[in-house]
């Protein structure tokens, strides 16, 4: 029976490592489980960190849990000897070793990842005009609301939140191969903007303004997910994100402009005071009202 238990514990590192490797290298049945293919340079860097730290973790898992299983195998009391257990209370050298080595690994990890974080969250892209550099203006203003996404494209003036903004709901079309900046605000509660393919996630907090930036290298149709609980309809708060070529993008924008009417935009803006504003401006869009059994919270 003792052998049985040691094998049980030995299985943990074996299965653990096997599944991590399967997910990492796309072997069935975990071939598609982990993350979809990265669409951007910054995403690749995150992937390297993600895979690297997981490999390291899998290695440490194997080492420690294997030792546990092995100890059970070797040191289980089988009642066939009178010998006592070893009387060891500590071993200073050993303990210093297993403190210092992990500490070094952790310090290395800490410094190693800073660059990627800065790239993704801190170094907002700039443009230089006449030797003066300034932040690159956002191409789209994202307004998150319960339970949908509003996108306001900067119109001809290249500035968001002006009269000539172009309004689209739950669909974001963007040119591939260009650095794009989005500005994000919330109309009501906290939401979060998650695009797994871009390795991009940012909470959108009412009362604050966030900026995100990315550069997708391929034309592809993907999805935006909301990853912060925002109420009963949280699960259906999705939008489509289409990366297209520059030419297609220009054509699409031109289309939107002609279809676009200021009245429509007005309708989407929250009207009147807080007391009368309806939370569900996009109720018709939700359609799937089967699920809404009268619970609004």
């Amino acid at each position: 029976m003792n052998r049985f238990w040691s094998v049980l514990f030995l299985l943990v590192p074996v299965l653990g490592i096997a599944s991590v490797l399967m997910a990492m290298y796309g072997v069935a049945p975990l071939e598609s489980a982990w993350l979809p293919k990265s669409l951007s340079q910054a995403g690749d860097t995150i992937d390297q960190l993600f895979n690297g730290i997981h490999l390291l973790a899998a290695f440490i898992l194997a080492g420690t849990v294997f030792t546990i299983g092995w100890a059970l195998w070797r040191f289980s009391d089988r009642g066939n000897s009178d010998a006592k257990a070893l009387y060891i209370t500590h071993n200073t050298k050993l303990e210093i070793t297993w403190t210092v080595i992990p500490a070094l690994i952790l310090v290395f990890l800490a410094f190693f990842q800073m660059k990627s974080w800065a790239e993704n969250k801190m170094n907002r892209p700039t443009v230089t005009v006449d030797g003066v550099s300034s932040f690159k203006p956002p191409m789209v203003m994202v307004k998150a609301k319960r339970f949908g996404w509003e996108f306001y494209y900067a119109g001809d003036d290249g500035i968001v939140e002006t009269e000539d903004d172009i309004f689209v709901e739950n669909l974001l079309v963007l040119p591939a191969g260009e650095e794009i900046v989005l500005q994000m605000e919330s109309r009501d509660v906290i939401h979060s903007f998650y695009v797994p393919e871009l390795r991009l996630k940012q909470d959108i907090v009412p009362g604050m303004t966030q900026f995100v930036w990315f550069n997708a290298r391929e034309e592809k149709e993907i999805e935006i997910m909301c990853t912060e609980l925002c109420g009963w309809g949280h699960y259906m708060m999705k939008a489509d994100l289409n990366f297209v070529s520059r030419a297609e993008f220009d054509a699409w924008i031109a289309d939107q402009k002609s279809a676009y009417s200021p009245e429509f935009k007005k309708a989407a803006e929250p009207t009147a005071s807080l007391r009368t504003t309806n939370v569900l401006p996009s109720a018709e869009l939700l359609g799937a009202a089967q699920t809404a059994v009268g619970i609004e919270n």
Binding site: L61, K121, D203
Partner: protein
């Protein structure tokens, strides 16, 4: 329960008819052991309620919008038994709330803390027995609030256990009940903590120096300190949110937000303030939910390895370090929250640091096993299970503490995997091991070993089947009622069904435990004073111990881990034994 203890634990002036005796002994008890058992039983009952909620969550993820068995038809007759999305949000909110605040914290600090601290330090009771009673009775208003909230129109609080405003401020009345319940739980924990600290500092038996205390007591001691420092912050935050809800203040509400046909708000507040206050409590709280278990596991592993705990002092220092660092890492829950991105870097560094003492503990447990004479009893198996599962949970913690990586995995099922490895696969396994270990002391009878081992085996298999695959769902957001609405997640359905089946298996397995628990209480083999040949003080008195705990004042002569000492005949050396 053995007659002797009942007889002894009644104050003489309270001897009356049977009913009033029962009430004074078991209901308004001031004996720390009875209070410990009260906490134990109420936590175990809530454990099953929380488990049901979890299975309902898993049901929805495996077979979305299909008829929920049994409850579906009771609650959702008009939709043919299918749950609503709001109901789903209630399920995971209440599951987490109950498991954290009604199960793990009370069972560790309330049940084992109460039962074991006086026995292990050689005191006759807690320092403040009446405060102790009050600390249990303050759980009941919390229970009442939560039970009541299930009957509110939205079936319970549903803003997540983290309860982020503004969403939580605009929830229905169940949220107010939730906040009140948390305030009561906090008060209860606070009274407990004060008691534990005073007892440990003031009431140790002669010879019981701080560094002769078993790790269990150290775990409880450090936990009590953390509770005492962190709880006031949570309580303040809870009251602020309550006042935002009821008094129209705006601590957490900015200007110009539009929610739910607009409750008028004063605005001018900070949404992120709640998150800072909440996590300032709740990160220490996650350690509150594991340090006592770590202590108990250390004692159990040492006992069944028949070997001293490896590196006792470093073990003490590392839980102290965990507790200290635990107060400066809360920001790792907020990397993506929109707080200043530079701040993420400092929280990243402190979080990496806290992984270090956690690692040291694991290595020391392995060092304890190494070269021992291991007895693989049920409690030992649960504790070895604890250690190996904690390795997985700790490692996923390191993965997430890298902010660029956390961009991807924050608020996805990866987090759910992490927290269940540390809370279920570690803390709960540790608690179960502790129940098997101290059951003979509590009830004077042994639990059935064969059933115990089957219970361990099935729990271990099913928990890994349920939680391990979650590590691969870093593109599946958590708290989403129907993930398959996303094209990119449709292929995850079979994996989710597999996890649900394992979860149901895990739920059913716990029935073996229930049968073993109650069966052994009445029919188990009689346990003597010291069935495991352990060293600590509680094993020197009767099982169960009488009122006042010890027949003679224990005098402590050595540390708790003198197993297989070369100078002794037998392989254990009780702390009180004269050599």
């Amino acid at each position: 329960m053995a007659e002797a203890s009942v007889e002894n634990s009644i104050a003489p002036d309270r001897k009356g008819n049977a009913v009033s005796r029962f009430v004074w002994t078991y209901v308004f008890a001031t004996d720390h052991k009875v209070i410990g058992l009260q906490f134990l039983f109420s936590s175990l009952i809530w454990f099953f309620v929380g488990g049901f909620l979890a299975l309902a969550v898993r049901w929805q993820l495996a077979w979305p919008w299909s008829d929920m068995p049994i409850f579906g038809h009771m609650l959702f007759a008009e939709s043919g038994g299918q749950m609503s999305p709001g109901f789903y949000n209630m399920l995971f909110t209440m599951h987490a709330t109950i498991m954290i605040f009604f199960v793990i914290i009370p069972i560790l600090a309330g049940a084992f803390g109460n039962y074991l601290i006086p026995l292990m330090v050689g005191a006759e009771d807690m320092a403040f027995p009446r405060l102790n009673m009050l600390s249990y009775w303050f759980m009941w208003p919390a229970f009442a609030c939560i039970i009541l909230s299930f009957f509110m129109p939205e079936y319970g609080a549903s803003a997540g256990w983290t309860s982020y405003p503004p969403l939580s401020v605009f929830q229905g009345d169940a949220q107010s009940l939730w906040l009140l319940a948390m305030v009561f739980v906090g008060i209860s924990s606070m009274m407990g903590s004060i008691n534990y600290l005073t007892t440990i500092i003031q009431m140790r038996a002669p010879g019981m120096t701080m560094f002769r205390m078993p790790m269990t007591v150290w775990g409880m001691f450090i936990t009590a300190i953390m509770q005492a420092f962190a709880l006031p912050v949570l309580t303040a935050a809870l009251l602020m949110q309550l006042s935002d809800r009821l008094l129209m203040t705006g601590f957490f509400l900015p200007e110009n937000i539009a929610v739910n046909n607009g409750v008028a708000t004063s605005g001018g507040g900070q949404v992120l303030l709640w998150q800072h206050l909440f996590w300032f409590y709740s990160h220490p709280a996650v350690y509150i939910m594991i340090l006592p278990a770590m202590g108990m596991v250390s004692d159990i592993i040492s006992c069944f390895s028949r070997k001293p705990l490896f590196g006792y002092r470093p073990m003490v220092y590392s839980i102290t370090a965990i507790a200290g660092l635990g107060f400066i890492v809360w920001g790792h829950h907020m990397f993506i929250s929109g707080m200043n991105h530079t701040l993420a870097m400092s929280f990243m560094v402190s979080t990496m640091l806290i992984a270090l003492p956690s690692g040291i503990k694991v290595f020391n447990w392995i060092g304890t096993l190494w070269g021992g004479k291991l007895q693989l009893t049920t409690p030992m198996l649960f504790c070895v299970g604890f250690v190996s599962m904690f390795v997985i949970g700790g490692l996923s913690g390191i993965v997430m503490s890298a902010p660029p990586v956390d961009i991807v995995i924050h608020d996805t099922y990866y987090i759910v995997a992490h927290l269940h490895y540390v809370l279920f696969a570690s803390s709960v396994l540790g608690v179960l091991g502790a129940i098997y270990f101290w059951f003979p002391k509590m009830f004077g009878r042994m639990m059935n070993e064969r059933l115990g081992k089957i219970h361990f085996f099935l729990t271990f298999i099913f928990l890994n089947g349920t939680f391990f695959p979650m590590h691969f769902l870093s593109r599946m957001p958590r708290r989403v009622a129907d993930p398959y609405i996303y094209e990119g997640l449709k292929d995850l359905l079979p994996l989710n069904q597999f996890m649900t089946i394992c979860a149901i298996g895990m739920g059913l397995t716990q029935l073996i435990f229930v049968a073993n628990f109650f069966g052994s209480m009445f029919f188990g083999a009689k346990a003597g004073r010291n069935p495991w040949n352990a060293n600590t003080l509680e094993w020197t008195t009767a099982s169960p111990p009488p009122h006042g705990n010890f027949d003679v004042q224990p005098i402590v002569r050595r540390g708790p881990y003198e197993y297989s000492h070369p100078d002794t005949e037998c392989d254990f050396f009780p702390q009180t034994k004269t050599s």
